[in-house]
């Protein structure tokens, strides 16, 4: 279980989010651009600090308000799909996945097949389209076999056909493997497909 008690202060608004997500479940975060969805995911991933937030994963305190102690990002086993993909430009698609990879050969082959990136594995990540980058970014996070998967606008660059295929794959992946997932999106319908536990962020 992932317990979140996040308080974020922006110049124009505040975010106050208190919730818990069970293994196999998904939390949807809905809100317009610039509201703080990405910041929230980065705090959960441990790559951005927050002295006012409490995050507990399976009784391990990741973030604490009282003493400010923080489990390092590398020790959280979180797979983060960045809104701007954050692929490593010096690596090929395959090398990007291999950099993160903790899954078996069979799972790797299945992942590559499902994401339809078999034909671009040897291409540099700078030489592929936006949709292909999006799929590679999703694949890289999943190749890490994370306990918690965080996705920031993961379907924004996908065509409709592949989008529904990947959404179905992700949904069964999360429930079948008991992953905790948090998806941030400005598309409410995308979030509804995964969960009815949707938090709407808005300026207060």
């Amino acid at each position: 279980m992932l317990k979140l008690d996040l308080k974020l202060n922006f110049k124009t608004h505040q975010i106050d989010l208190k919730t818990a997500i069970q293994s196999g479940d998904t939390l949807g975060i809905y809100g317009k651009s610039g509201i703080g969805k990405s910041t929230l995911l980065k705090i959960i991933a441990g790559i951005q600090k927050s002295s006012q937030s409490m995050i507990i994963h399976n009784d391990i305190i990741w973030n604490s308000r009282s003493n400010g102690s923080q489990v390092l990002s590398k020790d959280r086993e979180v797979g983060l799909v960045f809104q701007d993909f954050a692929l490593f430009p010096n690596l090929t698609v395959k090398e990007n996945l291999e950099y993160a990879r903790r899954i078996s050969d069979a799972d790797f082959d299945q992942l590559v097949f499902t994401l339809d990136i078999e034909n671009i594995l040897d291409k540099k990540s700078t030489d592929i389209s936006g949709g292909q980058k999006q799929r590679t970014a999703i694949g890289r996070a999943m190749a890490y076999d994370p306990k918690v998967i965080l996705m920031d606008e993961p379907f924004a660059a996908l065509d409709d056909g592949i989008k529904s295929k990947i959404k179905s794959f992700l949904k069964s992946y999360i429930s079948d493997r008991n992953k905790i997932a948090i998806i941030a999106s400005h598309d409410y319908a995308d979030l509804e497909f995964f969960t009815d536990q949707i938090v709407t962020l808005q300026e207060v």
Partner: protein, 225 residues
Amino acid sequence: MEDFLTPLWLSCKLAFITTFSLFIIAVPIVYGLSMKKFFAQSIVKVIIALPLILPPSVLGFYLLIALQPNSYLGSFWNMVFDARLAFSFEGILIGSIIFSLPFMVNPILSAIENLPHHLSEASYSLGKTKWQTFHKVLLPNIRPSIISAAILTFAHTIGEFGVILMIGGNIPGETRVASIAIFHELESMNYDMANQYAAVLLVFSFVVLLLVQFIHKNPTRPIIC
């Protein structure tokens, strides 16, 4: 002809060893400055950058003091190698490494600091350590800057004069590098020979700067993905 080539060969040898040594030294320095936060970080950056604005005579003076036979370093060197450090090739090599340090460190550090933050963030979130992130993600993505830094360091070493003259003097085959040879030939009123050395260094400097321009206009890989 051999006499003419010896200072040029010495310059190249000095520049090559300096550049190679500085690359080895610069990587951990850049790692420390870019990946760690520590007290007096700004002071360290200032010390590294000092040779950029310090008169070579000032640096040369202090190095001469540090390398002389009765100094700690000089006596240690003498004890281990049974040789003097001041007025030797090894002495000008030490001076050259210190004098050219900012030419190697600063471009690499600047390039690392200008990389998009999401690259290191992505690497950390995938369970990688700071060192793994540094050498597997950050360094490979600033390859053009590393090459430029190495070329500039090499070129700067070839052109060094003040520091080398102060700590190395003008010993043929030992410390008389090309820039010192120009000075020596001028003092000997041998203008033709001085002109030949100067022309070689002029053409060399022009080609080096052209090469750096080319690398920056045609980076081997785009930085932003």
